[in-house]
Amino acid sequence: MLNARTPEGPLEEKWRHYRSTAKLVSSANRGKLHVIVVGTGLAGSSLAASLGEMGYRVTCFCFQDTARRAHSVAAQGGVNACKNYKNDGDTIFRMFYDTIKGGDFRSREANVYRLAECSANLIDQAVAQGVPFAREYSGYLSNRSFGGVQVSRTFYARGQTGQQLLLGAYQALMRQVAAGTVMLFPRHEMLDLVVIDGKARGVIVRDMDSGAIERHGGHAVVLATGGFGKIYYLSTLAMGCNGSAIWRAHRRGAFFANPSWTQIHPTCLPQSGDYQSKLTLMSESLRNDGRIWVPKKQADDRAPNDIPELDRDYYLERRYPAFGNLSPRDISSRAAKERIDAGFGIGPLKNAVYLDFSRAIREQGKPKIEEKYGNLFRMYQKITGVDAYREPMRISPAAHFSMGGLWVDYELMTTIPGLYALGEANFADHGANRLGANSLLQACVDGYFIAPSTLPNYLANEIKSGPVAVEHPAFVEGETTVRRQLEHLMGIQGNLPADYFHKMLGLILYDKCGLSRSQAGLKEAIVEIDSLRTQFYADLLIPGGANLNSELEKAGRVADYLELGELMCYDALTRNESCGAHFREEYQTPDGEALRNDQDFAFTSAWEWAGAGREPILHKEPLVFECVTPAVRSYK
């Protein structure tokens, strides 16, 4: 059984107790210790900068051409923190409870409590860095309510909160690069983890500009490589987002938790053609004033404004009268899919639903709507060419956030000693469904506050181990494995580009391991992915050489996705219940709501790699609820 090594004591004392008793490294010894941080998003930048400030030696990598472009940059909505500035009764416990409940009671109490506990400090830290959060005229920080919670705890910087938080962390990182404590390598992709005597000791990376394969050693390795939702091909993620770093660590022994739990966001722009490369997220705030509907008649080809009120089905208002258009993400996305699958979808590909502002414009006036959402309407028009003040928007669900990731204990250490996972790359705090504005928070809290306190507890025992020698046979073996794989992929010389396989995999996953899953479908998907993988290794085509070559980069990522996708299906197949984003068709109430099973499934699934071609091995971390009582999430 997996042990999360959660400290003893009452919930609210655990973190303080941990920090008071964890081992420390004296400042004189920190310069002897070397930490490798993969990723420069909020989690990676904040950790690398913080460790540098403390005096550790840090080597940091990202695949973009500069650290500031990590995909944290794209977050629009905001970041949660429990400051109770509005005097509306917010407390750490309330935030903890909202997060646990939002995650459908599938996360670890102690971790979630710590997230809420550290949230207030994050706002202080960001303000000190110069992050220009929205302010009241009085000069005090402003905040708003977000994602269906009853208090106002979301801080924001216009629609660019992620960008501003990331620039704060990036600037802190740049300061450490200038100070010489952090060595930063942009355009470097991690392709393998090096484990020596059971401990993580380094990474093998590829310089994506020159093609050089490099070895980097350290006393601990931290993966902060973000989400892998891009596995669905069409998603809200950036083109380069990938699962490769965590997948290769998984193949070296790190357990992978809840891989199939993917948040599918309800308000994205629909696919309009097969050339399409991504689905842009439209801020969820639109649902505050927009009403979602489809025609009552199947394949109704009339223009939306010609469809009279009587012929419209406001299905969220109909099914969930209490929350209506503001129902949580998982529920809204599923309801949209239900209508689309039943033949009521709209748009040229019949794959979308309407988000209609006509009533809001009638009641509040166009200027008011323009003030609230002007930039979003402009963005919508830029991309689609349609004026949403005159005609409803077309939206559809898209893969957005990976609740799953590497399994970590309370210290954010994976099952490989010395290997840590932070931010979206780990599975920790969001359970089966993530609440809006909680993941920027998680990435920051992991990097600024948690890992800088937990890493020393491990590093204290490494002070005497001396510099890590990259001549060790494990490094040679790692480098050879990477070179062989690259040569193998280049050598196939078949007929189809990597994107072809990626798109096919995306179709399988959206269809069978997306918004709703069934035993039969998942079994089919496992067979289909297996044969797609066989085809990939027989018919992949990469032109060009081993130096700068984006086709080679893509192929490596797709190779990993083809394994990870299969694991997702196993994960969904073994969880015979519906919870959060995981909806198994066999487990629903007569009116189509998710049926959770706390008796048999109150655990985290943590998967062990059993070798190529072998079925993965399931381990369980039981979820014990001492402070909350799991309840049915009802939004009716």
């Binding site: 940059v73 860095q129 990036y170 053609g273 991309i383 600024y448 994107d499 700068l548």
Partner: protein, 245 residues
């Protein structure tokens, strides 16, 4: 629609490049410009030719990684729009489109349309931060910042670091990029303390990197996807002069 492309192809920094012709016959007006390039690349791969290398990542106008010269304009014909947010409906059937990399001495070409913009990172390293280490931050509301000041700081902080300002400037000046960071931090009380040192160091680094001087043509603000105003350059000059005494 039919589009004729003339794209800059260059193997690497050391080899000379040249324009190559490509003819696309079934371009969909709803495609983004980068999706049009994807379509071309898919064809090239299937023909076993090396695809066109270009920079991109988020494809939603915020990461700043994309950026090419399209018919001589940074990010193409629309003002204040990144390359990834440009759609083919902005072109006409039969158009000839020239696609070239962002050019500047300080942005050497890596391959085809990809350029090296690491000079921007080094400008930030020179001083584009507040020296606020993790852990020591005071309670956020202990420092009041007026709404208008916060908004003005945001306007400057919104820069995505794409380099269009440099590419469009006849002097290849990085004044808009550098000034935006200097203004963002100088406006806020947290950043004011270090502002003299910051402006001196960042301007020195900008000159060391080989960017040209600003001669106030204001071309940069026309292309800037975040509509960063040239007034920040005036602010930078003011800060700089103040810092000398």
């Amino acid at each position: 629609m039919r589009i004729q492309l003339k794209i800059w192809r260059q193997e690497n920094r050391a080899t000379p490049g040249q324009l190559a012709n490509y003819d696309l016959t079934d371009v969909n007006p709803d495609m983004s410009f980068l999706e049009m390039l994807d379509t071309l690349n898919e064809r090239l791969v299937r023909q076993r030719e090396r695809p066109v290398e270009f920079d991109h990542d988020c494809r939603e106008g915020i990461c700043g990684q994309c950026g090419v010269m399209i018919n001589g304009r940074a990010h193409g014909p629309l003002p204040n729009t990144t390359t990834c947010q440009l759609h083919m409906r902005s072109f006409k059937d039969g158009d000839i489109i020239y696609v070239e990399p962002f050019r500047a001495t300080a942005f050497p070409v890596k391959c085809d349309l990809k350029v090296d913009r690491s000079a921007f990172d080094r400008i930030i390293q020179a001083g584009g931060f507040t020296s606020a280490s993790t852990g020591g931050a005071p309670e956020a509301n202990s420092m009041l910042i007026g709404h208008d000041v916060a908004e003005a700081a945001f306007d400057a902080a919104a820069c995505i670091g794409c380099g269009a300002c440099v590419a469009t400037c006849k002097n290849s000046s990085a004044a808009l990029f550098t000034a935006a960071k200097i203004t963002h931090l100088a406006l806020l009380p947290q950043g004011k303390i270090e502002s003299r040192q910051r402006v001196r160091r960042m301007v020195r680094q900008m000159d060391t990197e080989g960017f040209g001087h600003c001669s106030n043509t204001e071309a940069c603000q026309v292309e800037c996807p975040q509509q960063i105003s040239v007034l920040h350059i005036a602010r930078m000059n003011w800060e700089y002069n103040r810092a000398l005494f």
